[in-house]
């Protein structure tokens, strides 16, 4: 095959959450530029198994950049060098023959390592569970066209809803904050007319749940740089605004304000 590459991979290997990890170095050749980064790992893993070594655990599923399963630090960057691209959508044409690529798992205390490059991101589910929904029991919704939603509001809500829950924002943040993820969900729902009834309770619950698990945001903006869906940073500002308001409103609602 023409134009194939030979690469050196330095990959983080760790048997379990409590074990010590280390970098292992692997040489790999015959890598075509049309391969995806994960297909390159498939080849590495087949080679390892053929040599009697345990393959590297690396998570992925849809390989279309939408399920949010994949994600690792590639040369120190969450999801690697290509902007707005999840690990699975990164292709080897972004690298060149002879490159050394360093691959590590997400690093954040709230995301413990399970094995090799796979981490536990379940705290993100806990945030959704605390208020990332509109309470509309099955069968109780009115006709879908009863409430017109201005196109701009629907489009902004969509921009927020595009988050894939990959956790790159947490991994990229110097404080391991989950502000971008949380704000994306809060604003998706807060921007819509359907989401108004629970706006203040949702904001307070979700922000406080986030703070139980994650560090605090100090406005570095690294999250946005790493985000494969380019979730806009202003959602964080809106959420901070809504949070301050929610403290007052929720107290008013309780008749104490």
């Amino acid at each position: 095959m023409e134009n194939t590459m030979t690469l050196t991979l330095k990959v983080w290997r760790q048997k379990g959450p409590l074990e010590n990890g280390r970098f292992e170095t692997y040489e790999i050749d015959q890598i075509s530029p049309d391969m995806s980064f994960l297909e390159m790992f498939d080849v590495l893993n087949e080679n390892l198994i053929n040599n009697g070594e345990e393959p590297v655990e690396i998570a992925s599923d849809c390989r279309e950049g939408i399920c949010g399963t994949c994600g690792c630090m590639i040369n120190g960057k969450a999801h690697g060098p290509e902007k707005a691209t999840a690990t699975c959508q990164l292709h080897m044409r972004k690298f060149k023959d002879g490159d050394t690529i360093i691959v590590e798992p997400w690093q954040a205390t709230s995301f413990p390592i399970i094995k090799d490059l796979v981490v536990d991101r379940s705290p993100l589910d806990r945030i959704i569970e605390s208020g990332g929904f509109i309470t509309v029991p099955t069968g109780s919704a009115p006709d879908a066209n009863l409430i017109p939603v201005p196109k701009d509001a629907a489009d902004s809500a969509f921009d927020a809803a595009a988050c894939i829950g990959c956790g790159a924002c947490v991994a990229a943040c110097p404080n391991s904050a989950a502000q971008l993820f949380t704000s994306a969900k809060v604003q998706h729902l807060n921007l819509l007319p359907q989401g108004q009834a629970e706006r203040w309770s949702r904001t307070e619950e979700m922000v406080e749940k986030m703070e139980e698990y994650f560090g605090s945001c100090t406005n570095h903006g690294e999250c946005h740089e790493a985000c494969p869906k380019e979730i806009p940073l202003d959602f964080i500002a809106y959420t901070n605004r809504d949070y301050v308001k929610s403290k007052r409103k929720n107290r008013n609602l309780l008749g104490q304000g």
């Binding site: 095959m1 391969m35 393959p55 998570a59 849809c62 292709h91 991101r121 066209n145 969509f158």
Partner: protein
Amino acid sequence: MIGELNSRIPEGPIEEKWSSHKFDMKLVNPANKRKFEVIVVGTGLAGASAAATLGELGYKVKAFTYHDSPRRAHSIAAQGGINGAKNYQNDGDSVYRLFYDTVKGGDYRSREANVHRLAEVSLNIIDQCVGQGVPFAREYGGLLDNRSFGGAQVSRTFYARGQTGQQLLLGAYSALMRQVGSGSVELHTRTEMLDLIVHDGAARGIVVRDLITGDVRSHTAHAVVLATGGYGNVYYLSTNAMMCNVTAGWRAHRRGALFANPCYTQIHPTCIPASDEFQSKLTLMSESLRNDGRIWVPSGHDEARSVSDIPEDQRYYYLEEKYPSFGNLVPRDVASRNAKTVVDQGLGVGPLKNGVYLDFADAIQRDGEDAIRERYGNLFQMYERITGEDPYKTPMRIYPATHYTMGGLWVDYELMSNVPGLFVVGEANFSDHGANRLGASALMQGLADGYFVLPYTIGNYLAPLLGESPLDESDPACSNVVQGVAERTQKWLSVNGTRTVDWFHRELGKLVWNFIGMERDKNGLEKALSEIPSLREEFEKDVRVLGSADNLNTSLEKVGRVADFFELAELKARDALERAESCGGHFRSESQTPEGEALRDDDNFSHVAAWEWGGTSGSAIRHKEELEFEYVPLTQRSYK
């Protein structure tokens, strides 16, 4: 042996069957609901919507997924949209028309009563999703926008940019997480179902493996719902997510559940062609692109000029020419087979000559690049990322790939399999699409089953069980199955062969694609029936799985799934061989019209083939459920 298959279709005119059946079914009163435990396996659209709704109703639900979060299910990847017979566009749509189109589109191999119910509840689904905050596309006036989708002449498809599945799943996931938060649903992530517990003739629970610790244990309940998705990955290369598999359904099949129509597979016409041997999966380009893209190949062999240098009269717009009224919007099976025909004729494009063009130049000229970006921006971006080519400037290259499986576990009108207490919803069942599924109808069916059908019908099964408790987990009926699963898992580690699981899966995939793919014939199917079992024997003797069973071990997860794919592949070949007619996605080259269209044989095959496990792979027994068409007259499909 299974007796007569009873589909339990209610009496009465088609438009009244579901409402009168809802009235006739037994109810569980609210205070008693919490006395019933229900297991839901799978948390994609069908499973998440079912678990959330059952939790809201007050049942005690346990939900299982092998993913790390319900939001990862393969449903997330659906792009194009979801149908709903709202007729918001005032273009003549109705419940009856959606029903009619679906039966016809399925090439008369589905149950009329199920399909009508699906069309009826499609209205509620759209309401429900909008209520949850699903950001569907809207017009400037703030009302919902629609588009038309493959095979339909009305605009009834609701969409959220090119990410409809994502937004619908996030809606169902949020409803599910609300129930998890309130305690009515207990969620088990990274937990894989590896067997079904059947005792005294009914489904009583499941055996699962914790994918992190390797623990194997049982869970019991009053009923088990499988919502475990489709089996397209039997082809190795497909548009399905890497982990999609048939294991849950197959293990239930081995415990007595009938597997219906395994040969019905949908090959989607618009996917990015494979670039090399290492290709791990194929990427779908939403079929909504066919609304604006024109499909063509150069009319001369060995075309070497660049696209822009090929004059109009040397471009072969084969769909527009052959099917003037539907053009590029013919149903999927027709579009796929025609692409195969031109590529087989040597007219293919791209470095491997394995694709056809999907060209947006005219649409961009007509509507402007911004309008096209608004409609398909993220799809174009994805295409460019994968291929390195810019579709605003040069046509996309596409080719068919396995996409959806219409076959699945047999269920009756109430979505219950022939094993009492085992319900099957979503792509995992065989129910509503016949031999071919219309675009934007899988999301609809998954949510119909989960939100609006199962939550009623399961009550009808549970009501008489009031006062009975689930099987004790220490019962030998449980522990024997647990032990079997643990042994099977360990067995793979001791084979110590020479080839990887992926190697065998790829080889199996090639056999299935070559012999049970877009076109099937007797010779090829017989060949598949001899080659699949011999490859399986080699697999069992020579596969190499390293590591241990007590921690995360992806190869160990895969090997069990591939083993089940082997058995399924064999059944698929038998089913395709026995069905000596063409219908929808099942094209037997021996059975075609002079124009090369699928030719049904209604006298002999107007039935569902439901297979009973015969004790070993290859010995399954075929049962029939006859199909009757009272409302949609049987005609030869024609999209001319």
